[in-house]
Amino acid sequence: MTALLSIDGVSKSFGAVCALSGVDLSVDAGSIFAIIGPNGAGKSTLFNAITGIYTLDSGTIAFDGRRIDGLPTFVIARRGIARTFQNLRLFGFLSAIDNVLIGEHARMRGTLVDSLLGTPRARAQERAARERARAWLDFVGLNDVGEQFARNLSYGAQRRLEIARALASQPRLLLLDEPAAGLNPTEKRELADLVRAIRDRGVTVVLIEHDMGLVMSLCERIAVLDHGEKIAQGAPAEIRANPAVIEAYLGAPA
């Protein structure tokens, strides 16, 4: 298998705080990969580094064999990396379907003239995009909320809408930042099924998650971060048995 995402010696600090230091990571195409670690371990920072929000202090990030570090966020997104956010960032005052349509932005073609004049070509494309958007909403299990404002949806529905929005860009890599946070057990199970379904469509998934049960049952590979450093990587069973991981989670033995 080839690595879809390879992270090599990535460091990032904010003033005196070192958020990431020399992190190496490699994610195989077609896998479900989890990043775990205590709060403040640098997990979200790593996502932000991948999507180009932060510039790296050192190290490289490559996606599908091409370096993406230093590129603007929107270019990285267009290369095929989509994400969700820890504290939902939906376009709250736009309808659910518009949120998904914005996800399709990079996939849609159209010149300025098309937008200005509403040409038949643009309208045909718009109709097709709308149908795809509905399909994505169906896919995540939100079939009848299309016209509602995103912010008026239930929390669980908002989480799923964010995933639908991310999928609409037809990414090859999907980054999910704590997708199960705030969900009840039923919703968590549905989420796990959804993630598997996404993977089955050929999308590689990397997720940050605190729910160990979910992580262990869902993911094929797990990386553990603590204080900005990767302390372990491996299959769920290996991670479960790793003393360094146990120490990080339970605190240093007294």
Partner: protein
Amino acid sequence: MIYVYVLATIAAVVIVERTRSRRVKLAILAALALTLAIVPFVDRTDATFNVLADAGVFVMLALGLNIVVGYAGLLDLGYAAFFAIGAYAYGILASPQFGVHLPFWAILFIAAACAGLAGIVLGAPTLRLHGDYLAIVTLGFGEIVPQVFQNTQAVGGPNGIAALDVPSALGHSFGTAAVPYYFVTLGGIALVAWVARNLGRSRLGRAWMAIREDELAAKHMGIDTTRTKLAAFAIGASFSGLGGVIFAAKLGLVSPDLFQFQVSVLILSMLVLGGMGSLIGVVVGSLVLSLLNSALLPNINAVIASTLHVNVDLTNYHFLIYGVILVAIMLFRPEGFLPNRERRAELHAAAITETSS
């Protein structure tokens, strides 16, 4: 009569907005267009159509600013700068001072392009700025542009450029009557509103709204925020370039004091009063404020004398009345006369958090 025309127009567009049936909508719009086209042949009062033509220019300007502020959420306090550029384009390309006499219709395109380009040039430095920092930089440009015209003797300095060419269409000069300009602005509004509507429903329009709602998330959707924002500035500015040409041609004059900060504020007020982001709202807001400013307030003594049969002199109270009206409208309808769906929801949501906290 002018009040009847404006109120009837407003009523018609509101009905169009509220109706679901596409056929009814088209029928009402067609009837409205026909009526607006026929009215000048029935009512021969030049002053009425003068006010309507002036108002029409402001409708175009407000629709342009709506792209920038309403759609893309970029607070622009210097929009009059682009208006000035459009107007000066006509002043330079159609006046005896420069000996250039291009046709009005050609200058419309040139000015729209110039203003659009200026939108990109002046928009570029603001891209990294957020919220009110953006506002103050645009305000700065709004101050700089007319002052540069004022300090440049080549374009007449404070005197500006006078005796501009009178446009003509199909070999007929517009003359000094206001009605031809009334028709031009009707056409202009139709064009600009149609384009704005297309944009609002397009990929680009959605990208603007995404930036307005959450710029960072928008970037993650693959939206090139730089280009998208510049497109908003450029398109918004080009609308005002068109408006500027019509304005200058009708007035026969351009001078720097026509494009001061107050004009930017006026256009913004039209937007907010009407209901930002909503095309119908913007049209209504700009019609109402134009009417207030150029018909009702200057004539307030006569209007009160003829309606209430009392003779009062309120000339000294212009600002007071205007200010009270602005405040009152905002206090009673903070979302504007005809807000779009998002604004209404926003206010509603705010009210809920208010009561729950």
